[in-house]
Symmetry: C2
Subunit: 310 residues, 2 copies
């Protein structure tokens, strides 16, 4: 094989109370990565469809994940050329860095016929995420596994696929703002009161129960984040208004998508999702902030090879 | 009606990671409370089967809960006589104070034909728990509702009944130790690192998912408490050894029951439960600590009226 081409979906991390531990994959949007053998040793990176993505292989998540898979496959001398086609925005809160890493990991694994376990591939993505956004796997696990995931443990890696109701839709509203992940992470409190920690744990438990039971009322009550949202909201003008509008339009919970600036809302079906999307965009615009919103189903498959070339 | 007689089951709180938010009710063990109309105003308390239970109605959880139900029923002038038959040990980590409160609340509600909602009855139990053990509802909600409960919120009260696998059994090992709830609570850290808080939340989510899916392997991995157990273990000689023995004997997780000193373990069936119980008792005895252990199914009904007298 001379090259392998993979796709990985965009993701929403946190899902409200699940900071660093809950995530889900979005259907119909993501990054593509083609990994090819190259006569020159080392790694080269090319990016299509986006500027500002670092081409330095030690700072590019796709390249870091590919290098890590190559290392685990035991063929570190192999030269690889990596071509990334970004479908996801930079710093948009849709897990763009994780999607590139997941697609690169899967493509490299196929190209090198390494047949690493999914946990090993996630470990490779984590090495990449760590270099740009801290060691957390909520985006990477969702991008790699698909579905709705709970990261129970990173050491050892233990990721659960959670059951969820079929009709569930995700509204993603993307204001014309930038919020660097580093800045969003720096806003998080390093310590928490026991009361807040336990309340947050209760919401995570309730959210898992709500998804398993298909209980949309409970889901709405469980999307309550007392750790990340209060510290990041001041950095996100318009978010509070968009959230209020989403809930009023019938959203089953609304919070920040990952480290922001995108906001997400749960909807019980496509139609309700469309109403929520419209309400959120209107609320941002009323604050003078241009915004776009879209309704997504959940991507069940996660990162996958879409073509191989001999 | 001149008197009403109610029963409420013993409970296990915390269930590992669910400090103050998870609890379950034990079948076949609990407290009984008979509430009778009395010609004298006020409340009188009588306790059968236990010493050291305060008879002062402002310090007795059954009396506090009864008074609170009476207040909510709008008949504060009504004299009540409360007779408690303790089936649960004092400070044993089996929710004795909560069971007495729950039985008293249900009996008083029936006697006064108050027809309070379950949330109102829980609020009455919470007032009682607050007076002796702090405002947390994991024992009280399990005693009142039965089953396995998650306390999503106290304000407003929002308690979920969680699905769990039919075969699930609870082993409760009771060493001949005393640990006052106050002392056990004082050992808890007031603040936590974000890392520990998020890890704990992940275990709660995983535990809920494990119970819903009947996944005993996952259940075993999820019963991991990084907040209460590390701070209370030093107060509980023999616990670490009993836990090791339980896990070796096939327990699907083992931790402290409520504020201790009892330890609980999850078992996948009755037979496995018996083996675990034996192993835990043996481990305590090897440390020179007398202990008893018993295998319980889960009480599905919670607090209930068992007799009314005209």
């Amino acid at each position: 094989m001379t090259s392998a081409h993979a796709f990985a979906p965009g993701t929403v991390a946190n899902l409200g109370p699940g900071l660093d531990i809950l995530g889900l994959a979005l259907e119909g949007v993501g990054d593509e990565v083609r990994v090819s053998r190259s006569p020159a040793a080392g790694l080269t990176v090319e990016v299509l469809g986006a500027e500002e993505i670092p081409l330095d292989p030690t700072r590019n998540t796709a390249a870091i994940a590919a290098a890590e898979v190559r290392r685990r496959a035991g063929v570190e001398g192999e030269g690889l050329s990596i071509q990334i086609r970004k479908g996801l925005p930079l710093a948009g809160g849709q897990g763009g860095s994780a999607a590139s890493a997941a697609a690169a990991a899967v493509a490299t694994d196929a190209l090198l016929r390494a047949r690493l376990s999914r946990e090993d591939l996630l470990e490779a993505c984590l090495v990449a995420e760590e270099a740009v956004a801290g060691r957390h796997a909520d985006n990477a696990a969702a991008a790699l596994y698909g579905g709705v995931v709970l990261v129970r443990s990173l050491d050892p890696i233990d990721v659960l696929r959670l059951p969820y109701p079929r009709g569930l839709r995700i509204v993603l509203a993307r204001p014309a703002q930038r919020l660097a992940t580093e800045r969003a992470r720096a806003a998080l409190p390093a310590t928490l009161s026991r009361e807040i920690a336990l309340a947050q744990a209760a919401q995570v438990g309730a959210l898992v129960a709500a998804l398993a039971a298909g209980d949309f009322e409970l889901l709405a009550r469980s999307v309550e984040d007392r750790i990340a949202e209060p510290s990041r909201e001041p950095l996100l003008p318009g978010f509070a208004e968009a959230k209020r509008a989403a809930l009023k339009a019938g959203a089953c919970g609304c919070s920040i998508s990952g480290a922001g600036p995108s906001a997400f809302a749960f909807a019980r079906d496509e139609e309700s999702g469309e109403r929520i999307a419209e309400a959120m965009v209107k609320a941002y615009r009323a604050k003078g902030i241009e915004a776009q919103a879209r309704v997504f189903a959940i991507d069940e498959s996660g990162a996958r090879v879409i073509a191989k070339h001999d």
